[in-house]
C-alpha cells in the first residue's frame, strides 16, 4: 500500500482500467499501467492484442470503451502537443520539404513565433537527428530511414512531455533500424525524455526500455507481466548481447511471446491483480 502511494506521486501517465469492447468482442480490458517521468516504457505483444489502439488512446486519437488515461493527474480529452507521436509509417507530408515538415509542427507549438525563428528551430531539430544536410529535400528524395528521422525530429521539435512511438522502425531494413534505435536511445537519454513505445522486436525493447509491459494475445488481452530491465545504461547494440543478464531477460520475454502470451489470454492465473500485474526482474 505504501509502495503504491509513493508510485502515485511519480506518475506522468496513468492508465486506469482501459478497455476496448465491441458488441460480442472484447479486444483488451482492465489495462492498468503507468509511466514515470523520464522513464522509457515498451509495450510488447502479438498483433491483434490492441497495442496500437492503446497508443492511439494515449495520443488522444481514440477513446477507450471503459476506463481513463491521466496525464499529469488530469484525464486527457483528445490530442495534445504535450504528447507527440512518431507514427509507424513516418506520416510526413510529401508536398513539404523535411525542414517544412518539422516547421509545421513547430509553428503549431509556438503560434506567436516569427517565421525565421520557426525555421531555425526546425533546422536545429533536424540537426539533432543528423539530417541538416537534407533539410531542403522532399520526403520522396529521402530514404526510409531518413524519413523516419524527420518524423523523430518533428516529434522532438515540439518538446513534448511524452513521446509516443508506434513500431517506429518496423518498416525499415535491419541495418537502418539498428542505427535509428541507437539514435533514439541517445536522444531520449540526453533529453531525459519520457517515452512509450510499441514494438514486437524483443532486442529493441531490451535496448531502449526501462520497463517492458508484456501483453497477452486477444481477445480479452491484458498486461500479464511487467519486466524491469535492469541492464545498465548506456546500452549499445553492439555489446548488448554480452551484458550479464541479457540472455535471461531475452529468454524470459521470448518464452512469454511464444507460449504464455497464448495460454494466459483471457485466462489470468489465480491471484492476478490487473492493477498490479506481477513484476519480474529476469536480468537479476
Amino acid at each position: 500500500m505504501d509502495a503504491s502511494l509513493v508510485q502515485a506521486s511519480s506518475k506522468l501517465v496513468s492508465v486506469e482500467g482501459i478497455a476496448r469492447k465491441f458488441p460480442g468482442l472484447t479486444v483488451f480490458e482492465d489495462v492498468w499501467f503507468h509511466v514515470a517521468p523520464g522513464e522509457f516504457v515498451c509495450l510488447v505483444g502479438h498483433s491483434g492484442c490492441g497495442k496500437t489502439t492503446i497508443l492511439n488512446i494515449l495520443a488522444g486519437l481514440d477513446t477507450p470503451s471503459e476506463g481513463a488515461v491521466l496525464v499529469g493527474g488530469r484525464e486527457i480529452e483528445g490530442p495534445s502537443l504535450d504528447r507527440a507521436v512518431i507514427f509507424q509509417g513516418h506520416a510526413l507530408m510529401p508536398w513539404l520539404t523535411a525542414a517544412e515538415n518539422v516547421a509545421f509542427a513547430v509553428s503549431c507549438r509556438h503560434r506567436d513565433w516569427p517565421k525565421h525563428r520557426v525555421q531555425d528551430a526546425a533546422r536545429a531539430a533536424l540537426k539533432r537527428v543528423g539530417l541538416d544536410a537534407a533539410a531542403d529535400r522532399k520526403p520522396a528524395q529521402l530514404s526510409g530511414g531518413m524519413k523516419q528521422r524527420v518524423g523523430i525530429a518533428r516529434a522532438l521539435a515540439i518538446e513534448p512531455k511524452l513521446m509516443l512511438m508506434d513500431e517506429p522502425f518496423s518498416a525499415l531494413d535491419a541495418l537502418t533500424r539498428g542505427s535509428l534505435q541507437e539514435e533514439v536511445s541517445r536522444l531520449v537519454t540526453e533529453a531525459g525524455q519520457t517515452a512509450f513505445m510499441i514494438t514486437h522486436d524483443v532486442d529493441e525493447a531490451i535496448l531502449l526500455a526501462d520497463r517492458i509491459l508484456l501483453m497477452t494475445n486477444g481477445p480479452r488481452a491484458r498486461i500479464a507481466e511487467v519486466v524491469v530491465n535492469t541492464l545498465p545504461r548506456p546500452r549499445e547494440r553492439a555489446n548488448l548481447h554480452h551484458m550479464t543478464g541479457y540472455h535471461p531477460l531475452r529468454d524470459h520475454i521470448m518464452d512469454f511471446l511464444i507460449t504464455r502470451s497464448r495460454t494466459l489470454a483471457g485466462n489470468p492465473p489465480p491471484g492476478y491483480d490487473p492493477r498490479n500485474p506481477p513484476t519480474v526482474r529476469p536480468a537479476g
Binding site: A59, G60, L61, G78, P79, S80, L81, R83, A84, V85, F87, G89, A91, M93, P94, W95, L96, F104, A105, C108, R109, K138, P139, A140, I158
Partner: protein, 282 residues
C-alpha cells in the same frame, strides 16, 4: 517496351503526315468536279465564281485557307461594326465568358466540394442532386437561363458555370475525402486547428485531384462556349463560326476550327502547368 523515340523523329513524322494531308486535300480540291462531289449550282454560285463554273468544289484548298488565315491574322482585333470584328476580338469574347463562368464555378465548387468531402453526411445528402444534374447537357439550361436572366451574354456565362461546376465539385470532394488519415492524425496530434488543417494539410494533399477536376472543367467549358455562342449570337468565336456559315465562307470556318483547337490546347496546357506546380510524389 522499346527505347523512347527521339523527339525529332516524332516531329518529322508529324510534319510529314501534315504535309501529306494538306497536299492530298489541295489535289482533291484542284482536281475539280470530276472527283469531288457535285455541288448544287445555286449554292455553288453563292460560294465562289470558280465553283459556279464547275471547275471546283465548294471546299476551299489549303492554299486558299492559308491566304485567308494570313489576311485574318494581319488585323485580328479590328472592329468595323457589329458584324465585322476581328477573329482575335471574337476569341477574346469567348475567353472572357469562359473565364467568368469557370471562375464563378471555382468559387462555388471548391469550397462546397471541400465541405462535402469532409462531411460524409452532406456527401450522402447532396449526392442525389449532383448525380441527377451532372449528366444534363449544359445547353439544356440555356432556355431557362435566358428566361430568368434575360441577358444573352450572362446566360452563356451561366451555361459555362453550370457545365464546369460538376467536375470540380466531384473531384474536390473526392480529393478531400481521400486525404490520408495519417496526415490528419499528425494535424490532430499537433492541435493544428480546423483552418490550419484545411489550408496546410487537406488543401495541398487534395490539390492534384482538384486540378484534375479543373482541367476537365476547362475542357468542357471551351467545348460548350462554341455551342452556346452559336445559340445566343452577338459575339464570340462560336457566333463567328455561325456567321461565317451564313456567309458561306468555308475557309473561315476551317480557320475557326483550327483556332478553337489551338486555344483549347493552350488552356489545357496552362492548367497543366499549375497542376505540375502543386503535384507531389511520395
Amino acid at each position: 517496351m522499346s527505347a523512347p523515340v527521339p523527339f525529332w523523329r516524332a516531329a518529322l513524322l508529324s510534319l510529314a503526315l501534315l504535309a501529306a494531308l494538306l497536299l492530298g486535300w489541295e489535289m482533291a480540291v484542284k482536281s475539280g468536279a470530276s472527283s469531288g462531289p457535285t455541288v448544287d449550282p445555286e449554292l455553288a454560285a453563292l460560294l465562289s465564281p470558280e465553283a459556279a463554273r464547275g471547275g471546283q468544289t465548294a471546299m476551299p484548298a489549303p492554299s486558299q485557307i492559308g491566304a485567308r488565315l494570313v489576311e485574318l491574322l494581319a488585323d485580328p482585333f479590328h472592329q468595323r461594326g457589329t458584324n465585322d470584328q476581328g477573329i482575335g476580338i471574337q476569341i477574346a469574347y469567348s475567353l472572357w465568358r469562359v473565364a467568368a463562368g469557370f471562375g464563378l464555378a471555382m468559387l462555388i465548387a471548391i469550397p462546397l466540394g471541400f465541405v462535402i468531402g469532409m462531411s460524409p453526411l452532406l456527401n450522402a445528402a447532396l449526392n442525389p442532386f449532383i448525380q441527377v444534374l451532372r449528366p444534363v447537357s449544359p445547353l439544356a439550361w440555356m432556355p431557362l437561363a435566358l428566361y430568368t436572366i434575360k441577358d444573352s451574354s450572362i446566360s452563356s456565362i451561366f451555361v459555362i458555370f453550370i457545365c464546369s461546376v460538376w467536375p470540380m465539385l466531384l473531384n474536390t470532394a473526392f480529393g478531400v475525402a481521400s486525404v490520408r488519415k495519417e496526415w490528419l492524425n499528425v494535424a490532430r496530434t499537433l492541435q493544428a486547428g480546423t483552418w490550419r488543417t484545411a489550408f496546410r494539410v487537406i488543401l495541398p494533399a487534395a490539390a492534384p485531384t482538384i486540378l484534375t477536376g479543373m482541367r476537365i472543367s476547362i475542357g468542357i467549358a471551351w467545348l460548350v462556349i462554341v455551342a452556346a455562342e452559336m445559340l445566343v449570337g452577338g459575339t464570340g468565336i462560336g457566333y463567328w463560326v455561325w456567321n461565317q456559315w451564313n456567309n458561306l465562307s468555308i475557309a473561315d470556318i476551317v480557320i475557326a476550327i483550327l483556332m478553337i483547337g489551338l486555344v483549347g490546347l493552350a488552356l489545357d496546357r496552362l492548367l497543366g502547368l499549375v497542376a505540375r506546380a502543386v503535384a507531389w510524389a511520395e
